[in-house]
């Protein structure tokens, strides 16, 4: 086996990503065009912002998931963690709008998310248990905690809190802004910071990263913290949007987030992928859902199509990589 220089590897990787991304953008463009022709209601600017509003929760989760997947990890616990964080937030948002209540309603989901992420991260970083098993365990345990903590839904939330889910800045819904801001920030961290480079290094080749003096354990801990934080942020957005929190909220969200990441072309083996493409992957799935509902396509058919797109994306990914080699 030849060892290509680091520079060549980097250039080849960039090229593969660019080709892959072109395919992704083309797929999204085709989908948008198709729906625009088939459903007049799809073409309205209002509907565009509706899609953005609808994908915001999954998008925020997918951004956090991208960090984890880039290290060749996986976080299955985000849906359960979202439920716990949502309940915490809603319980504070039920109270009268005194300053403490406002601060706690906003801060508690993020703190719960960070705590859940810290537990995942510590177990992944310092035990030899695989991330799949660790977060499969926490998926179950966090959900159990949510149900034990509160079976009945928390509703009748304060008006200011409800407004967070409804507010629009011009035509742009606040949840969409939160999603896009999170994605932008994550993109900057991954492409412009030392930590971002370390994430790619750990996912690309863990042994080499360790040899290069990177604290692999620290990087792993932090990516699960980020994913947990995103779960908390998504909980805030979802709870404000729904006007209620439930212990059953977020079931299956982890798979939707992973789907968005994978459709966006991030490799489940780590080291390769971009947050920007995760955003496009999220939009692809969101547009598909929105368009199919507009055309009143039955939901089992929607599921089949979304499943096909996930597999198709990964297949395309593999095919393109082979042409590279």
């Amino acid at each position: 086996m030849r060892f290509p220089s680091r520079l060549t590897v980097h250039a080849a990787r960039e090229r593969a990503l660019a080709i892959r991304a072109l395919g992704l953008y083309a797929a999204l463009a085709l989908l948008v065009l198709g729906f625009a022709l088939a459903a007049p209601a799809f073409r309205t600017p209002e509907n565009l912002f509706l899609v953005l509003r609808q994908v915001s929760v999954n998008g925020i989760l997918a951004v956090g998931m991208t960090f984890v997947v880039l290290t060749a990890g996986i976080d299955l616990s985000v849906g359960s963690l979202l439920a716990v964080a949502g309940l915490a937030s809603a319980l504070f948002a039920q109270q009268e709008s005194r300053a403490a209540g406002v601060v706690l309603a906003l801060a508690s989901p993020l703190l719960v998310g960070l705590a859940g992420g810290a537990l995942n991260g510590a177990l992944v970083a310092f035990s030899r248990v695989s991330p799949l098993i660790v977060t499969l365990g926490s998926l179950t345990a966090y959900r159990g905690f949510a149900i034990w903590f509160r079976v009945d839904p928390v509703y009748d939330l304060e008006a200011w809190y409800r407004e967070l889910g409804r507010f629009e800045l011009g035509p742009v819904p606040l949840p969409a802004l939160v999603f896009l801001a999170t994605a932008s920030l994550a993109g900057l961290v991954l492409s412009r910071t030392r930590f971002g480079r370390e994430v790619y290094a750990v996912g690309g080749n863990e042994a080499a990263a360790r040899a290069a003096g990177i604290s692999v354990a620290r990087v792993k801990l932090v990516v699960y913290l980020i994913s947990g934080f995103c779960a908390g942020l998504a909980a805030l957005v979802l709870t404000a949007r729904l006007g209620a929190a439930q212990s059953v909220a977020g079931q299956g969200f982890e798979l939707q987030a992973i789907a968005a990441v994978v459709v966006g072309g991030t490799s489940l083996f780590g080291g390769r992928g971009r947050v920007g493409d995760t955003v496009v992957g999220t939009l692809l799935i969101g547009v598909l859902f929105n368009g199919l509902v507009l055309l009143n396509v039955p939901s089992p058919v929607q599921q089949m199509l979304i499943g096909a797109i996930i597999v198709g994306a990964v297949w395309l990914d593999g095919a393109l990589r082979e042409t590279e080699a």
Binding site: N47, P153, A249, S299
Partner: protein
């Protein structure tokens, strides 16, 4: 397991004394407790719940506990967590613990038969409640006919159409989970009612599954309202989805122009009905089912004859009767 407190019951601290002075403390509502026989040394009744993570099942539990307290029954409870294998293990444990009657809320139509058969071979009588399994022998079933809820929802829709004075009405029907028994029963009965009233052609119904989920109910309604601004009603196979739809309707500023109706009678929906933001729901009575199951066990052990089915009727709730139904909901749902 989270200990469910029975709040808002009228029994209060009198409960301790109640075993002695039972007559003073009959719970309000339904068929009325029959205290007496079990007072000195009440029977041990096992209860297997489908999944206590569902608020409705938690409400069944509160009702069962309240009735057990009144009747002096000792309850041994188990949560199947919607898993027929766990359910069977639980029931076997309960049987070893010496229960005299099993109040059984099945997780599955077919797979739950094993639990009933286990009780049969142990010689312990079974009372099924809320969810019914096919298999084994049981004394009676205390529960509701899910078709009735769909029928009442259909009747409400017919009323909406007639009251609108228009020839045609377009609306959204949010379904639960494809293939799920309750969802199919409600949907079939709703369609049958529309056909019987001869209005099927006049109602243009956009139908989508939303998995009984509040968020999906909201998202589906948002998308459909964008493409069909003339939607006049949304009906849903449960309350969670209609509460999601309410949020979608209000964000678009369509409140008052889209009539909403669900099934369940969750406290939140009842509040929205009282406020006039949701028009109706079909109330499924957890108090009558949970308390009725314990009552049926006690009655059977006391040698009374029971019918093969003790049906708990559904009831359409609108602004007119919401106060009375909210009373029941307050007793069995935690706040």
């Amino acid at each position: 397991m989270r200990p469910g407190r029975v709040r808002g019951l009228r029994t209060g601290p009198a409960v301790l004394a109640a075993t002695l002075v039972l007559a003073a403390c009959s719970p309000s509502g339904d068929d009325g407790a029959r205290p007496g026989e079990g007072a000195q040394k009440g029977p041990i009744v096992g209860v297997s719940y489908q999944a206590l993570r569902f608020p409705f099942v938690a409400a069944l539990q509160r009702a069962a506990r309240a009735r057990a307290e009144v009747l002096g029954v000792r309850l041994l409870e188990a949560d199947a967590g919607n898993d027929a294998a766990v359910e069977l293990a639980n029931v076997e444990r309960l049987l070893r613990q010496g229960i005299e009657c099993l109040a059984f809320e099945a997780t599955s139509l077919d797979a739950s038969a094993a639990s009933i058969e286990a009780a049969n071979s142990a010689g312990v009588p079974v009372v099924q409640f809320n969810g019914r399994a096919n298999g084994g022998r049981w004394v009676t079933f205390v529960g509701s006919d899910q078709s009735e809820s769909g029928d009442l929802l259909g009747a409400w829709l017919v009323d909406q159409l007639r009251a609108s004075g228009t020839e045609r009405l377009r609306g959204i029907y949010l379904r639960g989970v494809p293939g799920q028994v309750t969802d199919s029963a409600r949907s079939t009965a709703l369609r049958r009612r529309l056909a019987r009233e001869g209005v099927s052609e006049r109602l243009e119904i956009l139908e989508q599954f939303a998995d009984y989920d509040r968020g999906k109910g909201q998202a589906v309604t948002e998308s459909l309202l964008a493409s069909h601004p003339d939607v006049a009603f949304v009906v849903a196979n449960n309350d969670d989805m209609i509460l999601g739809a309410l949020e979608a309707v209000e964000v678009r500023g369509l409140e008052g122009r889209v009539a909403l109706a669900g099934v369940d009678g969750l406290p939140e929906t009842l509040e929205r009905i009282a406020e006039g933001r949701v028009r109706a729901t079909v109330f499924q009575n957890p108090e009558a089912q949970g308390a009725g199951a314990v009552q049926a066990c006690v009655d059977h052990l006391a040698g009374r004859d029971l019918p093969a089915e003790i049906l708990v009727p559904f009831e359409i709730v609108t602004g007119e009767n919401v106060g009375r139904v909210a009373e029941i909901a307050r007793r069995v749902y935690a706040r």
